[in-house]
Subunit: 169 residues, 2 copies
């Protein structure tokens, strides 16, 4: 199974996330508040705030593609403090994903993945993609979206999904 | 590309959702409230409440497998009012997904999908899976989880992801 189409979907959804942030900036302008205050909003005191949810969304997309192909990944030291900086990070990951082709994902079934946090344990690359990176990507993206909705930002499911490839009858 | 591994992941996450509801029942018992009151909780007044998020999670998993393979789908008329009834629905979709094998997903690239709401429009089955059913599944599952977290239920990322297939060093 090639995971390339799902990486393309993650890239599309990073653009959707950027579009949601565009609407967030507009919302803050209308309501006359500093948009960056929203980056500290959370749904529960022991959940990550919006800032970290967006960073994690970016990371999971980067890891999904980079770790299962073995391609070098750009460093992102989590220094962002503003919506503008977060949007640059999103753009950086989109540019990284632009560098992949379908053939980069050939042979993912035979590769193995590990991370510094796993203390020597590994996971089959395909398992890592399906059971770790992909659900984590969606977890953080949806939670970021939910924080925006909870705070009144006027985004909807279409903003979340992005354009859909309908064929006319 | 075969979507079977991702359908297996959805099945696993439906079990995780059921596990989260188990913890929700325990939380309600400890706090001495009727667990079913939580089913009306929402993150925003114009978002679906927990009840509908769980129904939609079930539906998207069912649609993902059923629509791209063309296999008949069980009817679920959205009559659930209690956590017990929702858990039965989750179990029913898990049982439905148990009936699929890898070969059922062969040829999904050439199939086409439509739904009653699309007014005659169609989508390539593989596009439908990757750009519609899969992100919608994760959207509703994560939002259900977020509503639980927002209301103090003690679930965490491990409950969300379920067991991971680590290999020991």
């Amino acid at each position: 199974m090639s995971f390339y189409p799902i990486v393309l979907e993650m890239k599309k959804l990073l653009r959707s996330l950027d579009g949601c942030l565009d609407k967030t900036v507009a919302f803050a302008t209308t309501k006359k508040f500093d948009v960056n205050t929203l980056l500290q909003a959370r749904l529960a005191p022991d959940m990550f705030p919006l800032l970290r949810q967006i960073q994690a969304t970016c990371d999971q997309a980067k890891y999904a593609a980079g770790r299962i192909t073995g391609k070098e990944m750009p460093a992102h030291p989590d220094t962002e403090q503003t919506v503008d900086e977060l949007r640059k990070r999103i753009a950086s990951v989109i540019a990284y994903l632009d560098g992949f082709t379908k053939t980069d994902f050939d042979g993912a079934e035979t590769r193995s993945v590990t991370t510094p946090r796993w203390e020597g344990k590994t996971m089959a690359a395909s398992d890592y993609f399906v059971e770790h990176a992909m659900p984590n990507f969606f977890f953080h993206y949806t939670t970021a979206y939910a924080i925006l909705r909870h705070n009144g930002v006027e985004v909807g499911k279409r903003d979340f999904l992005g354009p859909l490839p309908y064929r006319q009858p």
